[in-house]
Amino acid sequence: MDPLGPNTKMIERALDLAATRHRVIAANIANVETPGYKAKVALFDEELDAAVVREREGVNPRENGNTVVMELEMADMRKNELVYRVFIQSLIQKTRIMRAAISGGGG
């Protein structure tokens, strides 16, 4: 049994996905002026049980073929940071409970 509870693996996956997502967004921002660059998004693939990177759909390319929308990327980046924060906090909460159990609740 996982000492930190059954959801720990799920949280780890979510954190990995958020980190991958941040890398992908950073790449999109860096390439906002690269001709022909297609914006990418990181998604979780249930079957592969891992984060996968795909091209963003539904965006009209600019005249140089680039599909990065800076406002969209900035919003996604901030959203992603908040999601990461939430999962980290739940992990911290779990370790606190663990510590309380070890010390018998005294400290």
Binding site: I29, A30, Y84
Partner: protein
């Protein structure tokens, strides 16, 4: 937990900043030479542009690099009537560079905003990594 993605993010954002800084250098040069009618070879200055390309391999994969810089041969050179000018032709026309300072200023602002966006991305990467360190406290 894997911090590799976050470290890569930092390198990618750095590549974006460095590419934008290079571009801003070219823009500064374009503005400085906006009325340069002789660049040493008897020809007026031509505006320069950076060519960005995505880095496909290595630690910086997904980042951006300045693949090349090119002279703008599409925008026409400007003809100005200045009969007293030493570089005027027999009709008194001087060929001025194809630099429009207004366009350059707009490009400069765009470039500097993009630099800031990359900076913000690296700031958030560090913030995320710092959050992860809180687990051990």
């Amino acid at each position: 937990m894997n911090l590799n993605n976050l470290f890569k993010s930092l390198s990618i954002s750095a590549s974006g900043m460095s590419a934008e800084r290079f571009k801003m250098g070219l823009i500064a040069s374009n503005i400085a030479h906006a009325r340069d009618t002789d660049t040493g070879n008897g020809l007026p200055y031509r505006r320069k542009d950076a060519v960005f390309a995505t880095i496909l391999e290595g630690e910086l994969a997904g980042g951006v690099e300045v693949a090349d810089w090119v002279e703008d041969r599409v925008t026409p050179m400007q003809q100005v009537y200045m009969p007293g000018h030493p570089h005027a032709d027999e009709n008194g026309m001087v060929t001025m560079p194809n630099v429009n300072p207004h366009n350059e200023m707009v490009d400069m602002i765009m470039s500097s905003r993009t630099y800031e966006a990359n900076l913000e991305a690296s700031r958030i990467a560090v913030e995320i990594a710092r959050q992860a360190l809180e687990i051990g406290r």
